[in-house]
Amino acid sequence: MSAPCFHAGDRVRVLDLARTGHVRTPRYARGKCGVVERVCGVFGNPEELAYGRWNGAPIPLYRVRFRLADVFPSGAVEAGARDDSDHDTIDVELYESWLAPETTA
């Protein structure tokens, strides 16, 4: 269960799940596609830990890198006047249950 499904370099899509509570997936990343930068290891699931449920299996955590222009298209327009912003990126830590291979719809 805790062996990571994804590896550095894999392209992934962030799921847009209707979960509430202590969710650590920023809204701006949901539905977006990026590349796994590294596997961080396995950690307790904050969506469980925050409510005192300590016994769940640890789950893999990843750093996923997105093109900034993919995540914030309107920000990219603002930044359009600025040089070099084409290659700007944002790295986000995401738990495995929020990720799918990019190729799945």
Binding site: F72, A79, D84, V92, E93
Partner: protein, 192 residues
Amino acid sequence: MIDREYEALEAAFREALAARGIVTDAEIAERVEVLYGRTPELGGRVVARAWFDPAYKTRLLADGSAAVRELLDLDIGTLKLVVVENVPGVHNVIVCTLCSCYPRMLLGVPPDWYKSVTYRARVVRDPRGVLEEFGLALPPGTAVRVHDSTADMRYIVLPARPVGSEHLDEAACAALVTRDAMIGVAVPSLQS
């Protein structure tokens, strides 16, 4: 008034924990003292060692927490430190958009602006604009990498050693490394 409300909530929560014997007042006081004893000077020593010792830098980039423990003999608890390096063509900047995660066990208490909604919302949407407001002009051809500390990792930036510091020893170089340079909203300079 919001601050007073939070203060009252914090006190009530702390008292409830103590009343149930989950933590003692002394344990809380001790952790607060540890936290306030941590300053960016510690991070500066880590950065300067990486500038002077390439093998240390390799270890620091591979496993930040292990390299900090090796150098400083410091209790950093469960800190999982990721060190991101500024190199020609790449500038890094740290944020926590969801709350205010920060490598407190190494750098101490974060500045208020780091915790502000404004910084957290804007630095991901327009990092170049925010860096400009901090007075940081990036060389042409530099890509910006924003790092959002959304979960278990904490980050510091390993900035580049400033030009003109060649005659300085490691301790003098460490003194050039500011908190803001390790967050990535500044770069070390000889004027700092």
